[in-house]
């Protein structure tokens, strides 16, 4: 142990993790994304539980090593990171602030679905640029697992929608 960890609280760790951004959506942190689920400090050891957005999300390894790096900066030497599928990740977990950040970034936020993501498939999709609802789905798949491709008939721009899950 190279630092005195005695004063570091759970809250400090959460604050630090709020600076670790999602490698695919740099305007949101892993805390905003609700990917970090739990933090437990045990002496000079720290346990973090995280959950993937999509089961096959390849960015999870990058996220894991980014979290590790941040916790090492805080002074932790023993870092345990577990993956859990308990209470599977859902886009309904994203709060209004996170949604606004997504929209500003140019991605239509995921439609709220109350546990039934298929209900979101045919929902109205607002263009993040001109706010028109006159949009068409081009592809239910996109540049990353969590995004779909749309086209705005009003401002004639392609854009991405965060997939409701």
């Amino acid at each position: 142990m190279n630092k005195d960890l005695g004063n570091i609280t759970n809250a400090d760790v959460w604050v630090a993790l709020k600076e670790v951004t999602d490698p695919e959506i740099p305007v949101l942190s892993l805390v905003d994304m609700k990917i970090v689920r739990d933090v437990k400090i045990d002496g000079n050891e720290v346990h973090v539980t995280m959950t993937p957005t999509f089961a096959g999300c390849p960015a999870i390894y990058q996220m894991k090593s980014d979290i590790e790096e941040k916790l090492r900066e805080l002074g932790f030497e023993k870092i345990n990171i577990d993956l859990s599928f308990k209470e599977p990740w859902s886009t309904d977990m994203l709060d209004d602030e996170a949604r606004l950040k997504l929209e500003t970034f140019g991605i239509t936020p995921p439609t709220k679905h109350n546990g039934n993501p298929t209900s979101a498939i045919n929902a109205e999709v607002k263009c993040p640029y001109c706010k028109s609802n006159d949009t068409t789905m081009e592809n239910p798949f996109g540049p990353t697992l969590c995004r779909m491709i749309y086209y705005c008939n009003s401002c004639r721009q392609p854009f991405e929608r965060f997939k409701a899950l």
Binding site: F54, A55, G56, P117, N139
Partner: protein, 259 residues
């Protein structure tokens, strides 16, 4: 076979199906007929391989080898995937029909596994289920469009259905040890899954203008072809050996290398 072994056997069969089909789907990356489909199939491949990995992590938690060892250091005759997923990628019609048949089967299976009495399986199924709904949305839509588009698309789609139907039934070949797990309500009976699958795909094919080899009587649908079995018993096609060789080549070149 005790309960743990039966769970491992079951998980491995599902993971092998996902891994091999995911690899087949990935063969379209850079080669699909449209850029949109290139993206779609690359995503689907990534999802399926991710599902295989997640299933293999549960397998590992029961005392098995880790996912990389299971995927990359096992010989073809140790795999338990069905023949259906081993078949070469074929033309685009076959690819769409195969993925549609597979997605439908997976959705039906997951609907049961979401209520499994085995916690890790229940959690993972709940996680994967909505992801698979997007696959089905895409592949079913494509079947409906291509089934009735042009004379050539109809002909090719029908040929694909004729070819894939008996293969797809291999998804429901009984997995060794199933009975123990059915009794404990950990998994559904393969016969139930097959019946529901036939009920689901038949009307979709029909409204796409495609014929399926089934006999319909008073609301029940029965298959009229002999299912292509063998995979769950580790009896495989030559195609599996080839794809495993491709898939494992780099990993085996320098075992344990960090990339």
């Amino acid at each position: 076979m005790n309960k743990n072994e039966a769970i491992q056997t079951y998980l491995l069969a599902l993971a092998d199906d996902e891994l091999i089909l995911g690899h087949r789907d990935a063969e379209w990356t850079g080669h699909a007929p449209l850029i949109e489909e290139d993206i779609a199939f690359s995503n689907i491949a990534q999802d399926e391989i991710g599902h295989a990995q997640a299933l293999l992590r549960i397998y590992e938690s029961l005392g098995g080898n880790d996912p990389d060892t299971m995927g990359f250091l096992r010989d073809a005759d140790e795999f338990t995937c069905c023949h259906f997923v081993q078949m070469p990628k074929g033309d685009w019609a076959y690819t769409i029909v195969r993925q549609f048949f597979f997605d439908a089967a997976e959705i039906i299976r997951l609907r049961y596994l979401k209520n499994s009495t085995y916690e890790l399986i229940r959690e993972l199924a709940a996680k994967i289920y909505p992801e698979e709904q997007y696959h089905l949305l895409h592949t079913q839509g494509n079947v409906e469009r291509l089934g009735d588009a042009t004379e050539e698309s109809r002909r090719r789609m029908q040929r694909a259905v004729d070819e894939a139907f008996e293969q797809a039934l291999g998804l429901f070949e009984k997995i060794p040890g199933e009975d123990v797990l059915i009794d404990e309500k950990i998994i559904p009976d393969s016969r139930t899954l097959e019946a529901e699958w036939l009920q689901f795909v038949t009307p979709v094919l029909k409204r796409s203008g495609l014929q399926s080899p089934v006999i319909e009587t008073n609301g029940t649908v029965e298959s009229n072809v002999e299912p292509l079995y063998g995979g769950r018993q580790k009896k495989h096609t030559e195609h599996l050996h080839k794809i495993i060789e491709d898939m494992q080549k780099v990993y085996r070149m320098i075992p344990g290398a960090k990339w």
